[in-house]
Amino acid sequence: MNPGPGQKEQDMSSTAEHQTDAPPDYLNDGYGLRSWLLTTDHKRIAMLYLMSVTIFFMMGSFFAALIRAELVTPEGDLVTPDMYNRLFTMHGVIMVFLFLIPTIPAVFGNFFVPIMIGAKDLAMPRLNLASWYVFNVGAVLILYSIFAGGLDTGWTFYVPYSSSYSATNVVTAAVGIFIAGFASIMTGLNLMVTIHRMRAPGMTWFRLPLFVWANYATSIIILLGTPVVAITILMVGAERMFQLGIFDPAYGGDPILFQHLFWFYSHPAVYIMVLPAMGIQSELMAAFARKRIFGYRYVVYSSLGIAVLGFLVWGHHMYTSGQSAYAAAVFSILTMLVAVPSAVKTFNWTATLYRGSISFQTPMLYALAFMGLFLVGGLTGVMLGTLGIDVHVHDTYFVVAHFHYVMVGVTVSAFMGGLHYWWPKMTGRLYPSFPSKISAILVFLGFNLTFFPQFLLGFMGMPRRYHAYPVEDWQVLNVLSSAGATVLGVGFLLPAVYLTWSLFRGKRAPANPWGAVGLEWDIPSPPTKHNFEEDVVVTHEAYDYDARRDAIAAAAAAKQEADLV
């Protein structure tokens, strides 16, 4: 899907023709393992994160492929039920905690937030490097639990199964998630302090690019939500190891209290996953329509609105769980309110294209796919928030389809869009545009073929986490879904090929290949170690294409001359 080169970045960069006086770019600013593993440069740490999350994305996808293979036949005869439980649990845990939550803030947030606000680096570079190591330690613990017998509690760890009935290594995985969560807190903290303290002179709050705003809102959620799941997981660990049965009904404990504490984090966590993706979407729409985002302030307020309202709605995961009907009604009203900011953003992105100058390069294909899939994902979310419908479709494939439309359809396509948008800036290389467009289309088609049938399966009553389904006529839809999964898999593998190829033989990227406006496009690609050679003073708004008309013309000319298609 994107470069997963085994060895470190620096041995692959081509023979760098050193400009005599200009400082070397950050990739060539030091060679050898030490310069990479002990770097405090936010750009190198972002590349290290990119490698880690790519490996975990591939592992998670591998488990997903096995799940889809299993569900081709109703009998569920590919793997035993225990194995299947481990498969969907590890697919969930790896994808949620090791890919979706860290990726965009830790890769693109780390790389571009400092550049976009005109800073030389993050507020605490050493903490940034430490977060990468802590993240990998947590990941190793989670992955170790696979080989030591796996985990079969589902990524939700519902008590009392996870605390007293599961014989798998829940505690190892729980400690792994705790540590990975700590890395997420470190990243969130770093971004928060940087955005507050390190903005260049002239970069006022409402001149910040929307990607920075999105990371700001995400950091709020990370800082307020992650600790609660950390303590909840510690409680489950304490119950398993020291018999401190805090959720054990035998001592008056309440399994539904676990669900409250778990979802208090896990719903805002889905906004941790989706808000940065919305930030990338705003960047892509502005860059490829060459126009200011329509209603910039409303998009900012809706990001902050989502961050705050996100904490008020977690009860919609528990409508049928024995939670009181009145509390369910309160959570349902608030869920309807939290859907409004997302609707506002969708309308604003659509309005941005009006009278814009739209070009259909690969990142824009992903952005347009984002729009379609976010409509479906968002509106089915509203359906699930409606009390009446959720009673029937809770814990069925309708829910699985909804959150995959939002997680894969929205977050991953924004990640792919962002990757293709910033790849020239991060690596100084251009990738071939034809295969990348093919892979974008493949991803879109494969995705819809995989997950749209699951909406139908869900309403017909197929429960989730079933390795075998007794109803014969569900098989057709399941086979369609599995077929879609293979197309999606190919669609995601293609970028790994051509992006890695571009690292060696891709054309040299000019400073502004897309003719976009933003501090990151005013510096060479790849940028130097300290990003800006002279102090930056910001005078324009975020996407002020009119003021930068000449710069765009020059960039377009440079691109023409580098005979890019």
Binding site: L224, P227, T232, I246, G252, F264
Partner: protein, 224 residues
């Protein structure tokens, strides 16, 4: 301390000393926000279960040793004072005073942990530690009626989890202050640059704050 060494403390990506101090302090305050939510989770569980079984919690709380709890509270408030004195000394560059206040803070922290150790061992003797050997008898004076031992055991689940977590934070605090003391003796801090002292102080005060809430909620219920 030579000027060069001092300047190396000003990280190159900050524009001034004040900006660096403000950023580091702000970062610690953000971290304390996560700590508030971290303890918030277990305090929520405590409040819910206490609301559901007030009698059982009152009976169980009666078993806690209020003298040790009270002394521990005084010890922690004392340690907060020594921390504040260490910040006061650091601001004025009084290296010797700084070292003594840091050492006193560690001493008080250690006293707290030692008292905690005695409390826990007392619980072991009265088999009040959740596990196979847990047995509970209502020792409150006067007629309070029957208390379900399993609900009283829930109090001890929360008691050991919360005070254990707090003690863990105290141990981390001792580690931090050990490093500070070591650096002070090596003369790393000066009037110009002593950021770690007040920042570590914030963390220590937070650990004291948690105990300020833990003490009444765990020790003082059911005493009347």
């Amino acid at each position: 301390m030579s000027e060069a060494v001092q300047n190396s403390r000003l990280a190159h990506w900050y524009r001034s000393w004040e900006e660096q101090t403000e950023s580091v302090t702000l970062a610690m305050w953000f971290f304390l926000v996560t700590e508030v939510m971290f303890f918030g989770g277990i305090f929520t569980a405590y409040l819910i279960y206490r609301a559901q079984n007030p009698e059982a919690f009152a009976a169980a709380s009666h078993h806690l040793d209020i003298v040790m709890g009270g002394v521990n509270t005084a010890v922690l408030i004392g340690s907060s004072l020594t921390v504040v004195m260490s910040v006061w000394a650091a601001e004025r560059g009084k290296q010797k005073a700084l070292a003594t206040w840091l050492f006193l803070t560690m001493l008080l922290g250690l006293t707290f942990l030692v008292i905690k150790y005695f409390e826990y061992s007392a619980k072991f003797e009265h088999n009040l530690v959740p596990g196979a050997s847990f047995e509970f008898h209502d020792t409150r004076a006067g007629e309070h009626g029957y208390v379900d031992p399993s609900r009283a055991r829930m109090f001890f689940h929360l008691y050991f989890f919360m005070t254990g977590l707090h003690a863990l934070h105290m141990i981390i605090g001792l580690g931090i202050y050990g490093v500070l003391l070591f650096n002070t003796l090596k003369g790393k801090y000066s009037v110009r640059w002593h950021d770690p002292i007040p920042v570590a102080g914030l963390y220590w005060h937070f650990v004291d704050l948690v105990w300020i809430f833990l003490f009444p909620l765990l020790y003082l219920i059911g005493r009347h």
